[in-house]
């Protein structure tokens, strides 16, 4: 266990890959070769996919053995439980930088690991976005060609979806949330490490997709189109399966932590709103993602085993895939959005020096969105011809979501109302989010209404709409959250002078990009086209210029993250004078966070009170604690 780290993981992973490939070839191909002289082409196709799946399986299993994920379960079965010393080793005690490359159970290490992998994924996804926009700069561009273009569109989609799903609950849900609720670690530290390393193991599989044939289907991977995709599609399906397992594990872990491990006195009304947002997100993912996983399992069976779930000539139907997919697909956008908004809700009181306006409304709004989000999936299928009679009910459920969403807006502007609005970068993220999310939300109402959706479905309008919500609101919120918690997580201050430039350049570029996309969407340009009619040339050119601006802004922001992390000013333990618990512990945060667990007597939003004695802890805040 002590010798295992990322290097052994990669070595074992490669061994697993090669072994699985050979075994699969022997097991699956030999009987066929022994039989007929020439196998029918359909069977050859099944065998190719079968071997591809087995090989990927070999990589992940090998990797997980090599990182040490299975030593826990094996030792449990054998009855050799961890000693305290071993548990401390697993938590990363006295290991310096090496603990970031091991199966480390400390929630703070996992949080940083998630942060890094999120940034890597966002970087790759952003690169693909630049290539996509470059191809679309002119109507007849032959830069990427259709196969590569379609693959990159799908890759951009799924990479960004994975990155944005984990971007709040991964880094901040792991690093910040347990401290915020006064816990020493997560409920299941080893599951925590497992959820991260599952993603880490499968990211190489996902990134290999363009090089093993691609997945020219878009990230939705609709069947039966996905059925004719090259084996890159197997990489996609496999990634989703592993990712769904990781989400379920992380979801169970974070939810249990938040529900069962809040410190004494932290009743639900004294729990910070961020905790509600994270729990809503991961809690929603628990029932939602397995349906996506099931959709991909069936897809894999169709491709590798010869079942006919999505094959119309064999009794299957593309509608089945669409239903399973969107049963996950719509909750998933709230899985992304809610924690980002909750992070902004958490930091708004700090920078307005005011209590959160109507905490109850915020909680009701979040629960309302979560509850409704599982009843709206078919609004993605208004024009699919599947159950047209259900259009009305689904329109109703979808549009009702705008009521809780509107409440969240009220909470934001209510908290700014008559505040002492301290204009720092995290607060600027709130302004930007309010601008973007109003547009994203309103265009969502257009799409929720069947008469408008009839014209806009499948057009660039949809693309612009969901980028306004997922990027304009969720990613913007995450940038704010990163700057806000940066001092606690890295021990250094974020350089806002330059960071502001990066942030606002990206925001301006973002609005330009999607303004152009709304234009061509209204005019009738379909989504996911590599070439288009001359009539859409202007809007697309605007979009591409905007996209490059985003790229420059994001690179500046990235530079500031890296430079502040390595050489920024040393942060005090509570630079924002915030009242939540994570700011009351020293920076850097000690291994078990609290020596004595704090007792909570009121909620953390008591700004403007005569005696700010809230969030009282037994442990005096250590001001200015440094490395």
């Amino acid at each position: 266990m002590r010798r295992l780290n990322i290097i052994t993981a990669i070595v074992f992973g490669l061994i697993g890959t090669i072994a699985a490939h050979y075994l699969a070839t022997i097991i699956f191909v030999m009987p066929v070769l022994e039989g007929d002289a020439e196998a029918p082409s359909g069977l050859v196709w099944l065998l190719e996919n079968r071997i591809a799946f087995t090989t990927m399986f070999g990589w992940v299993v090998g990797f997980m053995i090599g990182i040490g994920a299975f030593s826990g379960p094996v030792r449990w079965v054998l009855g050799k439980d961890l000693t305290d010393e071993e548990a401390l080793f697993l938590a990363g005690k006295d290991q310096g930088i090496g603990r970031y490359f091991r199966f480390t159970t400390d929630h703070k290490v996992v949080g940083i690991q998630y942060l890094v992998i999120t940034m890597v994924l966002l970087g790759v996804g952003g690169t693909l976005a630049m290539l996509i926009r470059t191809n679309l700069m002119t109507p007849d561009s032959a830069f990427l060609g259709p196969t590569t273009y379609n693959t990159l569109v799908g890759m951009h989609g799924i990479i960004m979806i994975v990155a944005t799903i984990i971007m709040i609950t991964g880094p901040f849900g792991n690093f910040i949330l347990p401290i915020m609720i006064g816990a020493r670690d997560m409920a299941f530290p080893r599951l925590n490490a497992l959820s991260f390393w599952l993603i880490a193991s499968v990211v190489p599989v996902l990134l290999s997709v363009p090089f093993i044939g691609g997945m020219p289907t878009g990230w939705t991977a609709y069947n039966p189109l996905a059925d004719q995709a090259p084996i890159g599609m197997d990489g996609f399906a496999f990634t989703i399966i592993v990712f769904a397992i990781s989400s379920a594990v992380a979801g169970a872990n974070i939810t249990t932590t938040a529900v069962k491990m809040r410190t004494r006195g932290m009743t639900w009304t004294r729990t910070p709103i961020f905790v509600f947002g994270v729990v809503a997100s991961v809690g929603l993912a628990i029932p939602a993602f397995p349906t996506f996983m099931a959709a991909q399992v069936l897809s894999g069976l169709d491709r590798g085993v010869g079942t006919t779930f999505y094959d119309a000539s064999g009794g299957g139907s593309g509608w089945l895939y669409a239903n399973l997919f969107w049963l996950m697909g719509h909750p998933e956008v709230y899985v992304i959005l809610i924690p980002a908004l909750a992070a902004l809700l958490e930091l708004t009181p700090v920078f307005t020096r005011r209590p959160l306006f109507s905490f109850k409304a915020a909680v009701v709004a979040i629960s309302g969105i979560v509850g409704l989000s599982i009843l709206v999936w078919a609004h993605h299928m208004y024009i699919s011809g599947w159950a047209p009679k259900l259009g009305g009910p689904f329109m109703l459920t979808t549009e009702i979501i705008s009521i809780p969403t509107g409440l969240l807006f009220l909470v934001f502007i209510g908290t700014m109302w008559r505040g002492r609005i301290w204009t720092r970068l995290p607060m600027m993220a709130v302004y930007a989010m309010l601008w973007n999310f109003v547009i994203g939300g309103i265009t969502g109402v257009y799409l929720s209404d069947i008469p408008a959706d009839e014209a806009m479905h499948g057009s660039m309008f949809v693309t612009a709409h969901f980028h306004y919500t997922l990027m304009g609101a969720a990613l913007t919120g995450t940038m704010g959250a990163l700057v806000y918690w940066f001092p606690k997580m890295t021990g250094r201050m974020f350089d806002e002078r330059l960071g502001k430039w990066g942030f606002w350049i990206a925001q301006v570029g973002f609005n330009v990009t999607f303004l152009g996309m709304f234009m061509v969407g209204f005019a009738g340009q379909p989504r996911r086209v590599f070439n288009y009619s001359e009539v859409f040339a202007t809007g697309n050119f605007i979009s591409t210029m905007g996209a490059y601006t985003i790229g420059i802004g994001m690179l500046i922001f990235m530079y500031v993250v890296i430079s502040s992390w390595s050489r920024g000013a040393i942060a005090s333990s509570n630079p924002w004078k915030a009242k939540t618990l994570e700011w009351q512990v020293p920076t850097p945060v000690p291994l078990e966070n609290f020596d004595v667990l704090p007792i909570i007597t009121s909620d953390p939003y008591g700004y403007g009170r005569p005696s700010p004695d809230l969030a009282a802890t037994d442990q005096a805040p250590k001001e200015g604690a440094s490395l």
């Binding site: 449990w76 594990v249 085993v305 000539s313 599947w386 047209p388």
Partner: protein
């Protein structure tokens, strides 16, 4: 970069840990319920849809439900034995639990073997290209496979339980650990019963083989 090196592990009391772990396991079971629900939805939806009349192409014979119920029966038996054992453990009767765990392990393995046997016995003709004929056979095979996967996990968990009981790891205060395994046993058995009822009573498609909505 930890501040203090004099860290000692804080241990929470078993009851707290127990309630925490019960909650976490329940959530993981919720995830599995969603997965099984998806497969059940797939079966019923495709049966209703009957695209091209290919739910059960002509000449196809439905699988006899006997084997399904044999597997399910073994699972129910295993659940009962294991649950009673866990109750005995709570009452402080460790040897009884140990015996129950071993019996449940054997039952889970029997069920697994029967399940695999059923998958081998399915009389679904694969065409020369290796494809299943129709979605009924595809669904049956997938549901059986999912159950086999369930049973594999169950067998591993029960093996751990039995072995740890042998080593004397379980006593009254830690009796919540076998109770967690009981939750799992209960869920896989319920899922097998639900799937068994569905595949026994909902076989032939109610819809005419037509192309239309």
């Amino acid at each position: 970069m930890t501040m203090t090196t004099e860290v000692h592990l804080h241990h929470d009391d078993p009851d707290t840990v127990g309630s925490r772990e019960r909650f976490g396991v329940a959530l993981l079971i919720v995830a599995d319920i969603a997965f099984v629900f998806s497969l059940v939805f797939t079966y019923t939806y495709l049966r209703f849809l009957n695209t091209d009349g290919a739910w059960m192409p002509e000449g196809m014979v439905a699988a006899a439900p006997g084997e399904t119920w044999l597997v399910t029966g073994a699972m129910i038996l295993g659940l009962v034995v294991f649950a009673l054992g866990a109750r005995d453990l709570k009452a402080g009767k460790q040897p009884k639990f140990r015996r129950a765990a071993w019996i449940a392990l054997v039952l889970s393995i029997i069920a697994l073997v029967l399940q695999i046997q059923q998958m081998r016995n399915f009389n679904f003709s694969l065409g020369e290209k290796g494809y299943f004929a129709g979605t009924y056979s595809s669904s049956m095979m997938t549901l059986a496979g999912a159950n086999a996967f369930h049973l594999t996990l169950t067998a591993i968990i029960t093996l751990g339980m039995a072995n740890r009981a042998r080593l004397g790891k379980y006593n009254e205060p830690t009796s919540w650990q076998p109770r967690l395994a009981t939750y799992w046993w209960l869920w896989v058995t319920i899922s097998a019963v639900v799937v068994g009822l569905m595949t026994t009573f909902l076989v032939a498609s109610p819809s005419l083989p037509s192309m239309g909505t």
